[in-house]
């Protein structure tokens, strides 16, 4: 299969790339890793008139802590995320997720920014971003703005990104002692999209109780879903099995899965409840291990 015809640009700067997007008025797509976009083009599900390859733009791939944030450049490869010591030790839900995105070869091309912007509810990173309280820095013709992850996902393949905007950076609240996170994914086979997956990030206080909890779901509705009530239920709780069971029930209530080849909706809700409990247990063990 060969994609339909398109014009290809490989600009050397972000401003040039934004100019090209503007010139094509919604008919161009940004090419980051291409691991979702090129298959969609082969199948004629996407037929952009132009591709703007951002891989020649320097300084778009990095992972660094700065001030009160962890900053990840949009063109950072998924495998760079998996290889990062700071991610593994302090933001483990991202390496949990990164190790389950497609397969190692796809992860050598696929990028954090692409995974975040594609808007497929089966992508693994959006739920991690929602659970972590991430924000996205985007640049367009009129400058730069930051968007909360929870404002970003509008519908399947629809995000708050304007046609002439490019995601440049993801920002996460910086790790504090007592933070813990995890991502658990149930998949039919290695490299598949999730039947369902759950991201959780817990922040504990000095007394050793849960101060703040973010829980989000992959492939459980038209977009990644932030399970707000499931998170709120855990505030000021001790993190007992009963707390996590309650939270799991609320997460399953927040899910809107559809029946498809990965299983009936009721089965997926049951999976989400159990996965939420297990994800919270793992996140909490990690939080306690470090507080």
């Amino acid at each position: 299969m060969i994609p339909p015809k398109f014009d290809y640009y490989a600009p050397g700067t972000l401003d040039e790339a934004i100019g090209l997007l503007e010139r094509h008025q919604g008919e161009a797509k940004v090419l980051a890793g291409g691991q979702s976009l090129l298959p969609l083009m082969k199948l004629r599900l996407a037929e952009p008139k132009a591709l703007i390859d951002i891989n020649r733009i320097p300084k778009l791939a990095y992972i660094r802590e700065e001030g009160e944030q962890l900053r990840i450049g949009a063109a950072t490869k998924i495998n760079a995320l998996n290889d990062s010591e700071v991610i593994r030790t302090h933001y483990p839900l991202f390496s949990d997720a990164g190790m389950h995105i497609a397969d190692p070869l796809v992860r050598n091309m696929g990028t954090v920014g692409g995974n975040v912007c594609h808007g497929d509810p089966g992508n693994d990173l959006p739920a991690c971003m929602l659970a972590s309280g991430a924000s996205f820095v985007v640049r367009g013709p009129s400058g730069e703005r930051a968007l909360a992850a929870k404002e970003f996902y509008r519908d399947t393949f629809v995000t708050a990104l304007e046609p002439s905007e490019i995601l440049t950076e993801v920002r996460l609240p910086k790790y504090r002692a007592g933070d813990g996170g995890a991502y658990l994914k149930m998949e039919r086979k290695v490299g598949d999209f999730a039947i369902a997956a759950v991201a959780a990030r817990l922040r504990s206080d000095a007394k050793g109780t849960i101060a703040e909890a973010g829980i989000a779901l992959t492939n459980a509705g038209p977009t990644a879903i932030l399970a707000v009530k499931a998170g709120e239920r855990l505030a000021n709780r001790a993190g007992t099995d009963a707390d996590f069971l309650d939270s799991g029930r609320l997460a399953a209530e927040a899910a809107q899965p559809t029946s498809d080849l990965r299983g009936p909706a009721e089965f997926k809700k049951a999976v989400i409840q159990t996965l939420t409990q297990r994800t919270l247990q793992r996140a909490w063990e990690r939080a306690k291990g470090r507080s």
Binding site: D7, Q35, L38, P39, D103, L105, M109
Partner: protein
């Protein structure tokens, strides 16, 4: 071997839309060609350069038969555009043999019978080469994880794992891999 690559200009048919020039160094030999932007790297290698050792299996980023190294990193060449490889170094299975001597990974697949039909083998070997460059002494689990993007429908993977262990030992001269 790189020297047997014969450039053919089939990718520059005049009716094929906007054309871009790319220079890609394949198995240490630079090739400058005219390509359509939509030309996939695997078609560039097979059809333009005649390097048919790289196989097209699923064509949907699943099977890994088309795996090649781009700047030493294994990728699925059915899901990379030739224009994305512009200015980069590509290594294919034809570039493993050197001075008439098989690469240790090729030796390993031969000695341990790491293939039956052989269709997945070029991709499997390119992934193995990249793994051993990064991790010269991988455990069995590390090997299995590394090849999880390469599907084999014949062997059940046992002999492929053994082949990679064989290559690791041959390359490092060590007596055994990690358990």
């Amino acid at each position: 071997m790189a020297s047997t690559a014969i450039p053919r200009l089939t990718a520059t048919a005049p009716s094929s839309g906007p054309i871009q020039q790319v220079t890609v160094t394949v198995n240490d030999v630079p090739f400058t060609m005219q390509v359509e932007p939509r030309t996939l790297l695997v078609h560039f290698l097979r059809d333009s350069l005649g390097l048919t050792g790289t196989h097209i299996g699923c064509d949907t980023t699943h099977c890994g038969a088309c795996t090649v190294l781009v700047d030493d990193t294994p990728v699925k060449s059915c899901t990379v555009l030739a224009v994305q490889a512009n200015g980069r170094k590509v290594r294919t299975v034809e570039g493993l043999e050197a001075n008439g001597k098989l690469h240790p990974v090729q030796e390993g697949f031969t000695v341990e019978h790491g293939l039956q039909c052989g269709f997945c083998t070029p991709g499997m070997m390119m992934t193995s080469v990249a793994l051993l460059a990064r991790n010269p002494n991988p455990s069995e689990e590390e090997i299995r994880r590394a090849i999880s993007g390469n599907l084999c429908r014949c062997t059940g993977y046992m002999n492929i794992v053994k082949a990679i262990q064989h290559a690791a030992q041959a390359q490092s001269g060590a007596s055994g891999g990690k358990p």
